[in-house]
């Protein structure tokens, strides 16, 4: 793999430089689009975490959005609970009565993100005990059931605001710099997730989960403790999903069980579609898929208002039915040498007298 075009330094360095420059400067150059760019980072995190266990491990979950919403609520409770009584706060539904000093806010946000990530990971371990005996479509439907149930139950829980939801504490400072701050937070999360995953996929762990995807029984026969790997893999997904959920809750400013937190139809299905669009089981596929999907989504929301959901549903069907390999899979077929796959060249070398 090391000699492939996509892995060469002359390709990588400008690319990484461009991404870093974009992440820091784009919101400053185009302040009107800061929220959209921020959402783009969120969607990349969603796609990467889904691919970790849908694409690399072959366990197609439809309910990963559960951890997103769970993290969002955990963070909200921690952020508010540090200063006020949560039940009283939600009953007053914010209302601007309760104020947070900058120190209280940033401490709450930091602790909230941490708690969201850790508790999501723990909940993944506990849920994994229930669902990892399920295979294939049963796993997908079972996880979807968990996400829907979580939304319904949260909607009936008065202490966290039930169906009315919670108004989140505001980021201190003027709105523009607050947006930039959350955008940077998302961007750092994307970078750390990307670096972590590219390291993870090169380790024994990465090969083990690929083995589970390819043939779980054989992997078990080879001595891989499959349940442990599966649970750990899901916990990693859940950790990052919980953290991004915590940040997203602060971005939106108002969280609510069905439309914002446990949004099974929106982000819950988007994350799967983004991965399929970009290419399952690749490192860059989910990122490319997320970018393309986000642009398409924003365009349909702008130009097809009213019909945007129909267009998006049709897009899902088209991607799933006609474009299974995704963008990365398509490029791989067109230009295998970019990926270090050298079918033709090896054939050429095998012939006597053929020049390299």
């Amino acid at each position: 793999m090391n000699d492939s075009v996509l892995n060469s330094l002359s390709f990588k360095l400008p690319l990484y430089g461009f991404i870093l420059a974009f992440g820091f400067l784009a919101p400053l150059l185009f302040p009107a689009y800061t929220s959209q760019i921020s959402v783009l980072w969120v969607m990349i995190v969603l796609a990467l975490t889904w691919d970790l266990q849908g694409g690399q491990m072959g366990y197609n979950s439809l309910g990963n959005i559960f951890f997103f919403g769970f993290g969002m609520y955990v963070s909200a409770v921690v952020q508010i609970g540090l200063v006020y009584d949560v039940g009283v706060y939600t009953q007053a539904s914010g209302g601007g009565i309760f104020n947070f000093t900058p120190a209280q806010y940033y401490l709450g946000l930091g602790l909230g993100m941490l708690a969201a990530g850790v508790l999501s990971a723990i909940s993944a371990v506990l849920l994994g005990w229930i669902v990892f005996g399920l295979r294939g479509p049963y796993f997908a439907i079972g996880t979807l059931g968990i996400a829907i149930a979580a939304g319904e139950l949260t909607g009936a829980w008065e202490w966290v605001g039930a169906g009315q939801g919670i108004s989140m504490p505001q980021v201190p400072g003027d709105p523009d710099s607050a947006k930039y701050f959350l955008n940077l937070l998302n961007f750092f999360l994307v970078i750390s997730l990307f670096v972590f995953l590219s390291w993870l996929y090169s380790t024994r762990f990465g090969h083990a989960i690929n083995a589970i995807r390819d043939d779980e029984e054989k992997a078990e026969g080879m001595g891989i403790h499959t349940t442990r790997y599966k649970t750990f893999c899901w916990a990693i997904s859940a950790f990052f999903l919980g953290v991004v959920g915590a940040i997203f809750g602060n971005m939106i400013g108002f969280i609510e069980p069905l439309e914002v937190a446990f949004q099974t139809i929106n982000f819950g299905i988007f994350m799967v579609v983004m991965v399929l669009l970009g290419g399952k089981g690749t490192l860059w596929g989910p990122i490319i898929g997320a970018i393309v999907f986000h642009v398409i989504k924003e365009l349909t929301w702008t130009y097809l208002l009213g019909w945007q959901w129909v267009a998006l549903g049709a897009l899902i069907v088209i991607i799933v039915v006609y474009f299974q390999d995704g963008i990365m899979g398509w490029i791989k077929r067109q230009r295998p040498e970019w990926f270090g796959i050298r079918v033709e060249q090896q054939d050429l070398e095998a012939q006597p007298g053929a020049a390299e």
Binding site: N60, L62, I130, V131, G133, L134, G136, P137, Y138, A140, I141, G142, G145, I146, I148, A149, E152, L153, G155, A156, I265, I269, V272, V273, L276, G306, W307, W309, V310, L312, G313, A314, L315, I316, V317, V320, V321, Y322, Q324
Partner: protein
């Protein structure tokens, strides 16, 4: 919590309410059993998980509702929905299902999920998101001094569902196409070797499933409410019923469908109507966990 206990004590003190809930549950469960049977058919024969099942039901419901608005009795909506959804199912088969049939199961699950989104959004644009009921204009039977009411329309719905189920069962047993469908379900390759056009069988099976769902939807619009976004709940109900009963087990599917209706009625009464969807999903998780425990025991025996 106190509300739940209060509801429980009502059931305890006035046993006649239990009877009323039971009858309601059985009548609605008959319709669940219909759509679940369609899913069992498609799942067993084609190995496709159709998540748009509930949205087919909703389309059928809106057909009957639109007819009742135009002065036609919604009972006529049942055959009309059957025929219309037959055609719709065939189109969906040609456009989508045929291309995912030999892919892995997750592909068909996701493709039909996308289809479900399209259908519910189109219904939402056409008919808004208000809940609707087609007014069939029937009276109710009153039993036990009016404590138990049986709306005639529910009874008619129950009978129609039974007739439809019986017709489908007889068709599968006796007709040539029914035989071909069963043969394809057993072994697709062997069926093709024997000269069965499996593509035609698949198209027929999927259309039949859509038609059954459409008829079930027309019944639902009379005895309950329809709304564009209720489809997914019906899909999950069908999935729960089939998972609990296992496909190819027709009496099981019917029993599980009726049981589902009864449990939902009791659960809705005890916990409150806002928990309806949570009850359905809770049942799904329960069934999956029970199945898993059973299989874990089996796995240990094998080892």
């Amino acid at each position: 919590m106190s509300q739940i206990l209060g509801n429980l004590s009502i059931l305890w003190q006035a046993p006649v309410f239990n009877l009323s809930l039971l009858i309601d549950g059985l009548m609605i469960g008959a319709v669940f059993a219909l759509s679940a049977y369609g899913l069992a058919l498609v799942w067993g024969v084609m190995n496709v998980k159709n998540l748009a099942q509930g949205d087919f039901v909703m389309i059928g419901g809106y057909i009957a509702w639109v007819m009742s608005l135009n002065g036609i009795h919604p009972l006529f909506g049942v055959p009309v929905a059957f025929v219309a959804l037959w055609g719709f199912g065939w189109v969906i088969y040609v456009l989508i299902i045929r291309r995912v049939i030999d892919q892995d199961l997750f592909t068909s699950l996701l493709a039909t999920f996308g289809l479900a989104i399209v259908i519910e959004q189109v219904l939402n644009i056409l008919f808004t998101s208000d809940t609707q009921t087609a007014d069939a204009g029937f009276d109710s039977f009153l039993l036990f001094d009016g404590l138990v009411t049986i709306p005639q329309v529910k009874l008619i719905g129950f009978i129609l569902a039974a007739i439809l189920a019986l017709a489908v069962i007889l068709f599968m047993k006796n007709s040539r196409m029914g035989q071909a469908i069963r043969a394809t379900a057993q072994d697709e390759r062997a069926a093709r070797v024997m000269g069965i056009d499996t593509d035609k069988v698949y198209a027929f099976t999927f259309s039949l499933n859509a038609a059954i769902c459409g008829a079930a939807g027309a019944l639902i619009s009379m005895i309950w409410v329809i709304q564009p976004f209720f489809g997914i709940t019906y899909s999950i109900r069908a999935f729960v019923v089939v998972t609990a009963a296992g496909f190819g087990n027709l009496p099981g599917v019917i029993a599980a469908g009726l049981g589902m209706g009864v449990i939902e009625q009791f659960g809705g009464f005890i916990l409150g109507a806002e928990f309806q969807q949570a009850i359905v999903v809770g049942l799904l998780l329960l069934v999956l966990i029970v199945r898993q425990v059973q299989q874990a025991r089996l796995r240990q025996v094998v080892q």
